[in-house]
């Protein structure tokens, strides 16, 4: 057995050495071509606002998470205000089409997503079942954290009038909340706040998009 392993080692070493070289030369070749075409190694500078919007659209498409104006500005080496304006214009133009996709702002960035009204067909195609829902206990806990963050576990339980912190673990497991340092009080308890994942899963641009908690007082207090 040891013999055969050694044998492989030798063969593999050769392969390993050979492979990167090949790749490297290919890349060089490719970039050499662009050099000739564009006269520069870096991507050419953007000529028109239509082109800028088109490029942003492409970047949003390939980005695996909501793409922020700042990230785009860094990549394109342009002013982030200009990019932000271009993104907003792009979104307006794109959404005006009223097609199957929407370009929407979520968790501080832009992303393409399907429109909810087509969910049945999309789901049928993906053969997916509606994903697991949060229990009411978890949602209540999440609501308390979202509005009172950063907040400690005892404070959460106090508002909900329960003693079991199990819902908090669920939320941590689902990465909807994150630890936000410790409270400078006796025992220095851990404080929690909502995560970026929370914004994404609830389709929020940022926390300010949540309705004011006092609005719920009006809704709830009506029982007389």
């Amino acid at each position: 057995m040891a013999e055969s392993m050694e044998q492989f080692n030798e063969e593999e070493m050769d392969l390993e050495l050979a492979a990167p070289d090949e790749e490297f030369s290919e890349i060089e070749e490719a970039s050499g071509e662009t050099d000739r075409n564009q006269g520069a190694g870096a991507p050419h500078s953007i000529q028109s606002s239509a082109e800028r919007m088109a490029i942003i659209e492409a970047l949003i498409f390939v980005s695996d998470e909501p793409l922020s104006a700042r990230t785009v500005a860094d990549v394109l080496k342009e002013d982030s205000n200009a990019i932000e304006a271009a993104m907003a214009e792009l979104a307006q133009e794109f959404n005006a089409r009223n097609g199957g996709l929407q370009l929407r702002e979520v968790a501080g960035g832009w992303q393409f997503a399907t429109r909810p009204e087509h969910h049945e067909h999309v789901r049928a195609f993906l053969k997916s079942r509606p994903s697991a829902k949060l229990s009411l206990a978890s949602l209540e806990t999440l609501a308390v954290i979202a509005y009172k963050q950063p907040i400690t576990i005892p404070e959460i339980l106090d508002i909900r009038g329960v003693q079991s912190p199990s819902a908090i673990k669920t939320l941590l497991d689902k990465r909807l909340i994150v630890a936000r340092g410790r409270k400078e009080t006796v025992g220095r308890p851990m404080m929690y706040g909502t995560s970026k994942e929370f914004l994404i899963q609830f389709g929020l641009k940022d926390l300010s998009e949540l309705p004011s908690i006092e609005d719920f007082q009006d809704l709830a207090g009506g029982s007389a």
Binding site: M5, D64, P116, K133, L139, A146, G161, G203, I213, F216
Partner: protein, 288 residues
């Protein structure tokens, strides 16, 4: 004051304890679509339901959707159409205890939080029954119910906020993002580490230990043969669940060889390992 409270108690004694609807839209919608997820307990009234727990073989009795004592209390207040700022403590306590009793008959585990509230209610009831101190100043004494009312009002806001989150989540669940691209950073196809491999290996090893094997004749397989077997299995199908591969091994030694051959082919980049989901099955694929 004494008499009015007694009346209330009598009234509620005669009233029907039955509650036939769950706490709200949330409850009915939530449990309707996936009962497996809800881990909450409902109380008397809502049609009891016996559900098979998907993880264990236990049967669970789902009674309703009261998230805690405050939730139950709010429900009672709404049902009795009581002004939240002027709760008839005796009547509500009575109703509350009734529910508690029903709950305890069904599921003892819930009682903890609810018992604390029961004690609070009973204490309040007692304090309300005590005659006012005749020598106290004329100024309004603080209502003993104030703390509870404030707690209820505060809780009610977050309960409403939870419903808002719920409806947001429902809409979001109908929105789909694009499928993952090969270039995505968090592409799970690169997520398999040595420890994932070891885990699968250990699982199989443990399973082998349990099986009592009668070795009739020792059939030695060499590392080279094992490598060839793995190659063939991956090549023929394009991709191969490593579990299937490991399970073909008939002895401990063969298993070790199988494991080594996976490591070897990964090292030589002949195959690539990936998972479709975190902690999912490990799949080998011909490296392109």
């Amino acid at each position: 004051m004494d008499t009015s409270i007694t009346n209330e108690a009598e009234e509620s004694g005669a009233a029907q304890p039955a509650v036939t609807e769950p706490t709200g839209d949330l409850a009915s919608d939530g449990s309707g679509q996936d009962a497996g997820v809800s881990s909450t307990i409902n109380v008397a009234g809502a049609a009891p339901e016996i559900v098979e727990d998907q993880n264990t073989d236990d049967l669970r009795l789902i009674l309703g959707e009261f998230e805690g004592p405050l939730d139950l209390l709010l429900h009672l207040i709404r049902q009795e159409q009581i002004n939240i700022y002027d709760i008839p403590i005796a009547r509500i306590t009575d109703q509350y205890l009734r529910y508690l009793q029903a709950m305890q008959e069904m599921d003892i585990a819930v009682a903890g939080d609810f018992l604390v509230m029961a004690a609070t209610l009973i204490e309040l009831k007692t304090r309300m029954l005590l005659p006012r101190d005749p020598f106290a100043e004329l100024e309004e004494e603080e209502d003993p119910r104030l703390d509870l009312v404030n707690q209820l009002l505060e809780y009610q806001k977050y309960k409403a906020a939870a419903q808002m989150l719920w409806s947001r989540a429902t809409v979001e669940r109908a929105v789909f993002k694009r499928a993952e691209l090969e270039t995505d950073k968090n592409n799970p196809e690169v997520a398999v580490g040595v420890f994932d491999l070891l885990r699968v290996f250990n699982e199989i090893l443990a399973r082998h230990k349990e099986e009592v094997l009668m070795e009739i004749e020792r059939e030695e397989i060499t590392m080279a043969e094992m490598l060839e077997r793995l190659r063939n299995m991956v090549m023929s199908a394009g991709e191969l669940n490593l579990r299937t591969f490991f399970e073909r091994a008939r002895s401990r030694r063969e298993l070790v060889l199988a494991f080594l051959s996976v490591l070897e082919l990964v090292r030589t980049t002949e195959i690539r390992l990936f998972q479709r989901e975190t902690f999912g099955e490990i799949i080998a694929r011909v490296a392109s």
